[in-house]
């Protein structure tokens, strides 16, 4: 009797746990929007065939109130090779308001209005990414009234939606129609040329630095102070850097430098206050980064003084050697610094320990004297 009374709470807790487990399991399966059963045979796509019986005609079009012509033709080939159609996602999944023929009247003034209205349908299946875009700079420009601010379909396509990163160069090319000047500067950089010419898997594409859906304004103080950490994501990664024989201590050495200490303090305490101390991109350039050996690089020895003078206006030709670089203290490259470092590593220890030793001896002698006198 006593035993069963003791067991009762455990039984209740156990039952509750099982129920809770079932409930959370059930909710997680029902909430997973992308759990398309790809092992089954391709679905019939009956609706799609039905829609294409009209929309498969190349000359199907209408005129919007703005006077713009809206083609209503959907290429069946494009549709079938998209990411959605083979997965069984039918037309009305996105065109939720169209279920019958004749279609309900549309009241969009322009083609842009139409796109901006339909892309809302993406959030049904892609709620996380949709929510992220709402925090991004593109959503902010849209909210500020810019109709050209990109929506899902501008980057991903609509009926021809494809995996966005295959091949990888596609990501950066996706940004280029609107950010052409940036892309032009990027494509000749060490990162861009390796991406475009060699399909290099390690170099950053636009989204690696700027983020994907919640793209932030890169001109803010916050973005600035976190730049070194961002670059370090790759440039302090031994696995990635060893392939290209690049040093991985550039970030840790930067952090001990005058610039780096300033930036780390601002990052920790006042990330929203603009600070001029140099971050990686101030010296190495932003999109058009080139290796220091390249004569066009902003950190090439011949261009270095001009780069320093962007901030240190009156710096003279001797100035550039004040920069110890991302190099360790080295007898050849930084002889003065090396000498000072070697000297103090011995001298500081010697002073400290001699002072302590002498004072300890003094105190011990004084104590012994006192004891001796009291024993007299």
């Amino acid at each position: 009797m006593v035993k069963s009374r003791l067991l009762l709470p455990f039984v209740i807790i156990g039952v509750l746990l099982v129920l809770w487990g079932l409930a959370s399991n059930a909710s997680s399966t029902s909430a997973a929007p992308l759990s398309v059963d790809r092992s089954a045979a391709p679905p019939a796509q009956q609706t799609e065939q039905y829609c294409l019986s009209c929309h498969g005609k190349p000359d199907l079009k209408m005129t919007l109130p703005s006077g713009e012509e809206l083609s209503l033709y959907i290429s069946p080939d494009q549709l079938k090779s998209s990411a959605h159609s083979p997965a069984g996602i039918e037309c009305e999944a996105c065109h939720t308001n169209i279920t019958t023929y004749p279609h309900p009247a549309i009241n969009f003034q322009t083609r842009r209005d139409l796109s901006r209205s339909y892309y809302e349908a993406c959030q049904k299946c892609h709620p996380a990414n949709y929510a992220k875009t709402q925090d991004g700079i593109h959503a902010k420009s849209a909210a500020a009234g810019d109709p050209k601010a990109p929506i899902c379909t501008d980057c991903h396509g609509a009926h021809d939606v494809q995996k966005p990163d295959q091949p990888r160069v596609k990501i950066s090319q996706t940004c280029s129609p609107c950010h052409q000047d940036v892309y032009d500067s990027y494509k000749n950089s060490i990162h861009g040329s390796a991406l475009i010419n060699d399909n290099n898997p390690d170099v950053p594409v636009c989204t690696d630095c700027h983020g994907v859906h919640n793209i932030q304004d890169p001109r803010t103080a916050q973005f600035r102070v976190q730049t070194p950490e961002m670059c370090a994501g790759c440039h302090a990664d031994p696995q990635r850097m060893s392939k290209y024989n690049l040093p991985t201590d550039v970030y840790s050495l930067y952090q001990t430098s005058w610039h780096g200490v300033d930036i780390s303090v601002y990052k920790a305490n006042w990330p929203t206050i603009w600070h001029e101390s140099a971050v990686c991109t101030d010296c190495h350039s932003v999109h058009d980064i080139l290796p220091a050996s390249d004569p066009k690089s902003s950190v090439n020895p011949n261009n270095l003084l001009a780069t320093c003078q962007k901030c240190h206006k009156n710096a003279g030709p001797n100035w550039t050697s004040a920069w110890t670089g991302h190099n360790k203290i080295d007898p050849q490259r930084t002889p003065y610094l090396y000498a000072v470092d070697r000297f103090y590593s011995q001298f500081a220890q010697a002073v400290l320990w001699l002072c302590i030793l002498y004072v300890v001896l003094q105190i011990m002698h004084a104590l012994v004297d006192r004891v001796r006198r009291s024993l007299k």
């Binding site: 780390s264 006042w270 920069w323 500081a348 002073v351 400290l352 004072v359 012994v368």
Partner: protein, 244 residues
């Protein structure tokens, strides 16, 4: 140098203590300038040196505070430099007039004193060495800080005006000066805190740099040679070598 107070008639229960003049008023003023500027420089300096530590960031909690701390450091540096200039100018004046007292200069006797003192501290000798007006410990304090402050002033200028300095000197002196300034500050700070403060506060309370004078007992024990030179008496006391 002579005894300040001549002996008064001794009566029962009254002990007459003679004081010896040790530091002139100007020297005491110089010490005040040095003490204040050094303390302010050390405190405002370590806050900047350890900017990445959280205790420092609690003090430098706004960018404005960092500017203040740097300004205070610069003002204190100017005070210290003024003091250095006064000190050196006075030194050169005395040299030119051939009046420079030799008591502060290191001599072979100091090396011997250091050896004897070490023996005494290790119980290898019974008596502590007899020092002159300035013991080897005091001379070491003076000359250590003399060169430390020289290093700090020079390197401080290099990192205060790097652009101007590199019009003359190679750029690589700037990071070297920064490391030197930052490290020598700690070395000098440790030296003052352990060596100097032990000798003037703990070994015995020696306020002669503030009062300008030293009492007879301390003179006998710690500056025996000087005591004997000034008084013509023996400095030996029954409890020689004991605690003051």
């Amino acid at each position: 140098m002579s005894a300040v107070n001549s002996a008064a008639p001794a009566t029962h229960g009254v002990q007459v203590v003679r004081f010896f003049a040790r530091f002139a008023r100007a020297q005491r003023w110089e010490h005040w300038l040095l003490f204040l500027s050094f303390t302010v420089l050390f405190l405002t300096g370590i806050v900047q040196k350890y900017r990445t530590e959280s205790w420092s960031q609690n003090i430098l909690s706004t960018p404005q505070r960092l500017v203040w701390v740097q300004s205070i450091h610069h003002v204190a540096a100017i005070v210290l430099i003024v003091e250095v200039i006064i000190h050196l100018a006075h030194g050169f004046y005395l040299l030119a007039r051939r009046k420079m007292p030799h008591a502060m200069f290191p001599e072979w006797q100091d090396v011997k004193d250091a050896g004897s003192m070490t023996k005494y501290l290790l119980f290898l000798a019974k008596r502590r060495p007899k020092y002159g007006k300035y013991s080897f410990e005091e001379k070491l304090t003076y000359w250590f800080l003399f060169f430390s402050i020289g290093i700090m002033v020079i390197t401080g200028f290099v990192i205060w005006f790097p652009i101007q300095i590199t019009t003359v000197l190679p750029g690589s002196v700037v990071p070297a000066a920064k490391l030197t300034h930052s490290t020598e500050a700690i070395v000098a700070g440790v030296f003052v805190l352990i060596w100097h403060l032990y000798h003037v506060l703990i070994e015995r309370l020696n306020l002669s740099m503030f009062t300008g004078r030293m009492n007879e007992n301390d003179m006998r024990k710690y500056h025996a040679t000087e005591y004997e030179r000034l008084t013509g008496e023996s400095a030996d006391t029954p409890d020689q070598g004991g605690q003051a």
